[in-house]
């Protein structure tokens, strides 16, 4: 791991920004994406960070995209006959709706952030936000246990592991890895088309019963099922974790003895 500060990485397009003390980046312009000295025109093309001062139009575009997406969500939901909730005579949960839209907006923004960040650490931060918001979604879905697990294991464990990975393997955690512009745009177009068609498809499908009938599953029930019906996979997962521990320890251990 001594290589971290040692090697001189090849200068890449956009340059390697200086490692900043303090670890966690603060999303503040203009240093946030290392684009400082660049002209706004070029920064517009290169900087994916919505908080860059040269990227007002970018921010506007993101907001627009979000609005379109949200409208699409609602529209598709309407088109799919998502009126069951109203029909069933309950109070339309206004709070639930507001919360959902807030969280969903957050998810969309943070996913965009992951997609458009170039620094791995920045991606990790956006992923942190995404995973947290997904945990909130679980809460909204009355899956409190899953939400907690998501926060503890995913956000607290897996993500930290990934960040460790970034730290351990990158000469500079701020190193960025570019791909060609056409790849970026091509992938973007493909994914947007995929998104739209997926939404349409899922909207068309006939889901059997779309009412939130169950009042959420108690944790005890999960434990019960886990130790009865799912006892075999539960144990298999235990063995799996054990094997993974051995394998990871072997791979990550220093070879020099």
């Amino acid at each position: 791991m001594g290589n971290q500060e040692g090697g001189t990485s090849k200068p890449r397009r956009g340059g390697v920004s200086k490692p900043r003390p303090g670890g966690m980046p603060k999303p503040k312009a203009p240093a946030c994406c290392g684009m400082g000295p660049l002209a706004p025109q070029r920064a517009w093309r290169r900087c994916a960070c919505p908080c860059h001062p040269g990227a007002h139009r970018r921010v506007a575009a993101v907001v627009l995209a979000l609005a379109v997406t949200l409208a699409g969500t609602g529209g598709v939901a309407m088109a799919a006959g998502e009126t069951a909730g109203v029909v069933r005579g309950e109070q339309p949960g206004l709070l639930e709706a507001v919360l959902f839209y807030l969280v969903a907006t957050g998810v969309v923004i943070s996913v965009l952030g992951i997609c458009l960040s170039r620094s791995v650490v920045r991606m990790a931060v956006w992923l942190f936000v995404t995973l947290g918001l997904v945990a909130l979604l679980y809460f909204l879905l009355a899956a409190t246990f899953l939400g907690a697990i998501q926060l503890i294991v995913y956000v607290g464990g897996t993500l930290v592991l990934l960040v460790f990975g970034v730290m351990l393997t990158s000469r500079s955690p701020w190193a960025r890895y570019n791909c060609r512009a056409w790849e970026l745009y091509g992938a973007g177009v493909v994914c947007l088309v995929l998104l739209v068609s997926l939404c349409l498809l899922l909207g068309r499908a006939e889901w059997v019963g779309t009412q939130a009938t169950t009042p959420g599953v108690p944790v005890a029930r999960i434990g019960e099922v886990l130790l009865s019906k799912y006892v075999l996979p539960f144990e298999a997962a235990g063995v799996l974790l054990f094997i993974v521990m051995v394998g990871a320890a072997h791979l990550a251990r220093d070879t020099k003895k």
Binding site: L201, E224, S228, V231, V239, I243, V244, V246, G247, L251
Partner: protein, 555 residues
């Protein structure tokens, strides 16, 4: 608390019997744990670890034998009751795969003992990972639940990722494992999204229910056809990754070239076979779900998907193998091609004859035969490659030049294995292809005959690159001195070559055996219960009469 205990016991089988049925898997896990514990008492040397593993494998073998007897005794009708909490089924197919796995494990250990053991510092870790992937594959072969399939596949995959990069100082191995884990992660994620869609549409993770629902919903004009297809395709992608079928094969040549040769050998047979057995089980489940005649035409598109995948896979593998310079990599591509041939066996279930119920059993019998034969072919070919690589330090084609003179005891088995891989009589490789061809032809459909043609044409294409090695060994010569491989390695590859000849002559006993393992399999029949949920209500075993019926050429 009582209810929890009751549900644990709810398999309608006493817990002791469930444990008995699980004993092969438990024995594998116990072996794994013993390998962890053994170094505490006997040090980290190679010898104690190997001893422990061998003892464990023998115990596992005995357990499999015992359970085979048990399953045979219980008969096909008993299989449903023995379904272990809805996750696993211990039937002939999974037991047959276990037998193959154990034999192959011993072969791979033998190879390891020849090549890597003298310099191995981390034998316990190696065997933990090897046994771990074996465990995962064994679980894959018997899962009947999407959740368990995911867990089993991840167990097999994660151990495989680690074991490919096991040799830490080797940069090629490190890179291979990186590519493997990246592609593996992607395919697993895609598969899980597909599973989530299937769960949403079918309301259950039970494969039988999914199959049943799929066949209902795939009726023309159904609203969910596209989403369902999407989910199925994503799910299939995950299995195709394990089989290294072509659009999902990227990892295969790299991982095979980068890994140690024992690991390559292991993955080339065991991991692919596990994927294929899983696919075969899915085909079986779908056929069971289509038990009523109306659903049969709906199976055809599924067969076509697998058939097209198989065609692309074997053709691509054969063409890519041609330009390889590394024999290891060449054999990796050849293993892709063979995965294609074996996938063809899985498409065997839809007949032209409307009188005949769909059954993949002839295909499964042919598949098992092929896997057994393929095991020896690959073990032999990779074994020779490994021995040459260990002695000369290179696995390039040049290292094989003049091998017929330099090491006839390696060259002759290599020729036998390669010719068997081409599929020429009088070697077992031909018998493997023969049963698949016959099963395909017996379906009498356009797909079947197309695949027959694809297979024979691919045999022709494959001749070129296999013969390149033969030409190097036999027809060229070099100044280099003789190669003196260790005796145990020579014994291994010659045993494999002898087995290939023996299995040709003994084609009938082999086929008889594999047919027995392809009979009386678990066939769930699903029907809707009152509260709208679907449940597996009864098992309809395919008895041997049905099998004979279905082997009959159609009109």
């Amino acid at each position: 608390m009582d209810s929890a205990v009751n549900t644990i016991m709810s398999g309608s089988e006493p817990i002791g019997r469930q444990l008995l049925l699980l004993s092969p898997l438990l024995a594998l896990v116990a072996t794994l744990l013993a390998v962890v514990v053994a170094p505490l008492f006997a040090g980290r040397g190679v010898r104690p670890v190997v001893t422990v593993v061998l003892v464990g494998l023998v115990v596992t073998f005995l357990a499999v034998l015992r359970v085979t007897g048990e399953v045979a005794h219980a008969g096909a009708a008993g299989l449903l009751a023995e379904r272990l909490s809805g996750m696993l089924i211990v039937d002939n197919l999974s037991l047959g795969y276990m037998f193959i796995l154990l034999v192959f494990l011993v072969g791979v250990m033998w190879l390891w003992w020849t090549g890597s053991a003298p310099t191995e510092q981390d034998a316990p870790e190696f065997f933990i990972l090897l046994l771990g992937s074996a465990l995962g594959m064994a679980m894959m072969a018997s899962s009947t639940n999407l959740l368990f399939i995911v867990v089993a596949m991840e167990t097999a995959s994660l151990s495989s990722y680690a074991i490919v990069g096991f040799d830490k100082k080797n940069p090629v191995g490190a890179e291979a494992s990186l590519k493997y884990v990246v592609f593996g992660g992607i395919s697993a994620a895609i598969m899980l999204y597909g599973i989530s869609l299937l769960y949403g549409l079918c309301g259950s993770l039970d494969v039988a229910v999914v199959a049943r629902y799929t066949l209902e919903a795939l009726q023309p004009g159904g609203a969910n056809v596209i989403v369902l297809t999407l989910g199925l395709l994503c799910f299939l992608a995950g299995i195709a990754f394990k089989m290294s079928a072509v659009p999902f094969h990227f990892w295969c040549p790299d991982a095979f070239e980068g890994a140690k040769i024992e690991v390559t050998t292991w993955l080339s047979v065991a991991s692919k076979a596990a994927g294929l057995i899983l696919l075969a089980r899915l085909a079986l489940t779908f056929c069971a779900a289509a038990g009523n005649q109306t659903a049969i035409p709906l199976l055809l598109p599924l067969a076509w998907v697998v058939g097209i995948l198989a065609t692309i896979t074997c053709t691509y593998g054969n063409f890519c193998a041609y330009k390889q310079q590394s024999v290891k990599r060449l054999l990796a591509y050849s293993s892709i091609a063979h995965a294609g041939y074996m996938m063809m066996a899985v498409t065997v279930f839809v007949y032209v004859d409307p009188q005949r119920a769909p059954t993949p059993l002839p295909g499964i019998g042919a598949l098992l035969t092929y896997v057994v034969i393929y095991l020896f072919m690959n073990l032999g070919a990779f074994g020779v490659t490994g021995l040459v690589a260990w002695e000369t330090g290179s696995d390039k084609l040049e290292a094989f030049t003049g091998l017929a003179r330099r090491a006839p005891w390696l060259a002759v088995p290599m020729v036998i294995c390669l010719v068997s891989l081409v599929g020429l009589p009088p070697l077992a490789g031909f018998i493997g292809k023969w049963w698949i061809l016959l099963a395909l032809g017996a379906t009498g459909g356009t797909l079947g005959w197309l695949l027959v043609l694809v297979m024979v044409l691919n045999t022709l294409i494959s001749l070129f690159y296999y013969m390149r090695i033969v030409v190097r060994m036999g027809l060229h010569d070099t100044e280099a001195g003789p190669v003196r491989p260790p005796v145990r390695g020579v014994v291994l590859v010659n045993v494999c070559a002898a087995a290939l000849i023996a299995l040709f002559v003994l084609a009938y006993p082999l086929k008889d055996l594999t047919d027995r393992f392809a009979q009386a399999l678990y066939l769930p029949v699903v029907s809707a219960t009152q509260d709208g949920k679907q449940a597996v209500v009864s098992g309809l075993p395919l008895v041997s009469d049905g099998y004979v019926e279905n082997r009959r050429p159609s009109e």
